[in-house]
C-alpha cells in the first residue's frame, strides 16, 4: 500500500470515530440523567448478581484461538501465492500442494485429538 492509502485509512478511522461519537454527544445533551444505584447494578435477570462477574471460562476458547492463529498464518502465505502462481508454473502448484497437505494433516491431527470438540 502506498502512503496515501494509509492516509485514507487513518482519516476514515478518525472521521468514523467522530461521526459515531456525534450521536453519543447528542444523547449527552438530550437525555435525562438520574444515577440511581439500582440502575447501575450489573444485570442478572432481576436478581442480585451472584459471585464474581469475571468468572472462569473454559480453556477450549483458548484452544480454538490457538488453532485459528496457526491456520491464519497458513492463509497469509496463501494470499501472495494466489496471485503469482500462474507465472510460476507447475512447480509452484506442487509446492503449495505439499504445504497444504502438511497443514491438512495438522488439522486432521487436531481433529482426532479432540481439540476441535465443543467450545
Amino acid at each position: 500500500m502506498l502512503l496515501v492509502d494509509w492516509l485514507y485509512v487513518g482519516i476514515f478511522v478518525i472521521v468514523g470515530a467522530i461521526m459515531a461519537a456525534l450521536p453519543l454527544g447528542i444523547v449527552w445533551v438530550l437525555s435525562p440523567r438520574l444515577a440511581l444505584p439500582q440502575k447501575r447494578m450489573t444485570y442478572e435477570s432481576g436478581v442480585v448478581p451472584f459471585g464474581q462477574a469475571w468468572a472462569q471460562f473454559n480453556v477450549r476458547y483458548y484452544l480454538f484461538g490457538l488453532i485459528f492463529v496457526i491456520f491464519d498464518v497458513e492463509v497469509i502465505y496463501l494470499y501472495p501465492w494466489a496471485i503469482v502462481f500462474r507465472q510460476l508454473g507447475k512447480f509452484a502448484f506442487v509446492e503449495m500442494l505439499i504445504f497444504l497437505v502438511i497443514l491438512m494433516i495438522g488439522l486432521a491431527y487436531a481433529w482426532r485429538k479432540g481439540a476441535l470438540e465443543w467450545a
Binding site: T42, Y43, F71, A82
Partner: protein, 334 residues
C-alpha cells in the same frame, strides 16, 4: 508519484463523511426496516406500517427515540473500554467500505472506478478490517463485568475467528482465478453473465455466503446475541445509542459482506443497460435479501454445531477447493 496532500486529505474526509452517512441511512435505517418488513412477509404478517407511509419512517422514529435514552454505565464496568467498544465496532464496519467499487464513470474516454481507494491488496484489506469487529465485541463483552456479556463475547469471538478462515479461503480461490487481489481488478476479470465467478467458483460462493453470515453474527449463527439464551450476549449492558451503534456496525458489516459478494462473485457493476452504480445496488440488495431470507428461515445452530461446521466442513472444503482451482488453472488452462 506526486501526491497532493491537502487535496487528498480533503477528498478523504469528504468520502469518509459520505460513506458513513450512506451507511447510517442505507445500512442501519433502511436495512433494519427491510429486515422487519421482509421478516413480516415471510411470516405472513405485515411489518411496521403505521409510522410514515407504509412504515418507512419507522427506523427514523426509532433513532429519535434512542437519542433520548439515558446512557447507563454499570458501576462495576470498566468505563473506558465499555464506552469505546461501540465506537470500535462502528468504525470497523465503516473501514471495510474503502475497497468496495460502486461502479465506473466514463469521463472523457477514461473509465474511473467509483471506489474510495483501489488498493492493490483490496480483498486482503477487507478481510483484515472485518476482523476488527472481533476486538470491539470482545471489549464490550469483557468490560461489561457481567457473566452473560463475558460468555456472549467469548462465544461470538470464537465463532467469528473460526469463520474467518473459510472466508479467507473463498477469497483466495477468487483471487487465484482473477489473478489479482484488487477489487476493481476482480470485477474486470468477470465478463458477461456466465463469466461471473458465481458459476466458475460456485463452491467458493457458497462457502463465502455461509462464512459471511457467521461473520456478521446473523441467524443461523447468532448464538452470541441469542435473545432467548444469553439475554443479549455481549451487549446486555448497553443502553440507548450505544446499542444502536453496535447495530449500526453489525448492519454495516452485513452490507459490506453483501457488497463484497457482488464484487467477487456477481460481476460488480457490470450489466447491460443501466449505469454501473444501479446494477451494483441491485445486486447488493439481492444478496442482502438472500441473507435476510435465510435469517427468517433457519433455526439457530448450537455453538458446537456451528464450530463443527466451520472447522470440519467449510475449512477442509475451502482448502480442497483452492487446490482444485490451482490444479485447473495450472494443468488444464490453455
Amino acid at each position: 508519484m506526486e501526491v497532493n496532500w491537502p487535496i487528498e486529505i480533503a477528498r478523504a474526509v469528504g468520502l469518509a463523511v459520505t460513506v458513513f452517512t450512506f451507511l447510517a441511512v442505507v445500512a442501519a435505517m433502511l436495512g433494519v426496516l427491510l429486515e422487519r418488513k421482509i421478516g413480516g412477509w415471510i411470516q405472513s404478517r405485515l411489518g411496521p406500517k403505521h409510522v410514515g407511509r407504509q412504515g418507512l419512517l419507522q427506523t427514523v422514529a426509532d433513532t429519535i427515540k434512542l437519542l433520548q435514552k439515558e446512557h447507563i454505565t454499570p458501576q462495576a464496568a470498566d468505563a473506558v473500554i465499555f464506552n469505546s467498544a461501540p465506537l470500535i465496532v462502528a468504525v470497523a464496519g465503516l473501514l471495510d467500505w474503502i475497497v468496495i467499487p460502486f461502479g465506473v464513470v466514463h469521463i472523457g474516454g477514461t473509465a474511473i472506478p467509483l471506489v474510495v481507494r483501489d488498493l492493490n491488496i483490496g480483498v486482503l484489506f477487507f478481510a483484515a478490517m472485518a476482523s476488527l469487529t472481533v476486538v470491539g465485541i470482545l471489549a464490550g463483552g469483557f468490560a461489561s463485568n457481567n457473566k452473560y456479556s463475558l460468555l456472549g463475547g467469548l462465544r461470538s469471538a470464537s465463532q467469528m475467528i473460526s469463520y474467518e478462515l473459510p472466508l479467507a479461503t473463498a477469497l483466495i480461490a477468487v483471487a487465484m482465478q482473477a489473478g489479482t487481489l484488487s477489487t476493481v481488478g476482480i470485477v474486470k476479470a468477470q465478463d458477461g453473465w456466465f463469466g461471473s465467478f458465481a458459476f466458475s467458483q460456485f463452491p467458493a460462493f457458497v462457502i463465502f455466503l455461509i462464512a459471511a453470515t457467521a461473520e456478521v453474527n446473523r441467524v443461523p449463527f447468532d448464538l452470541p446475541e441469542a435473545e432467548s439464551e444469553l439475554v443479549a450476549g455481549y451487549f446486555s449492558e448497553y443502553t440507548g445509542m450505544r446499542f444502536a451503534l453496535f447495530q449500526l456496525g453489525e448492519y454495516a458489516e452485513m452490507f459490506a459482506m453483501a457488497a463484497l459478494a457482488t464484487t467477487l462473485f456477481l460481476g460488480g457493476w457490470k450489466g447491460p443497460v443501466l449505469p454501473g452504480l444501479v446494477w451494483f445496488l441491485i445486486k447488493m440488495y439481492a444478496v442482502v435479501f438472500f441473507l435476510m431470507w435465510t435469517r427468517w428461515t433457519f433455526p439457530r445452530l448450537r455453538l458446537d454445531q456451528l464450530l463443527n461446521l466451520s472447522w470440519k466442513v467449510l475449512l477442509p472444503a475451502g482448502l480442497i477447493w483452492i487446490l482444485l482451482t490451482g490444479f485447473a488453472i495450472t494443468f488444464l488452462a490453455k
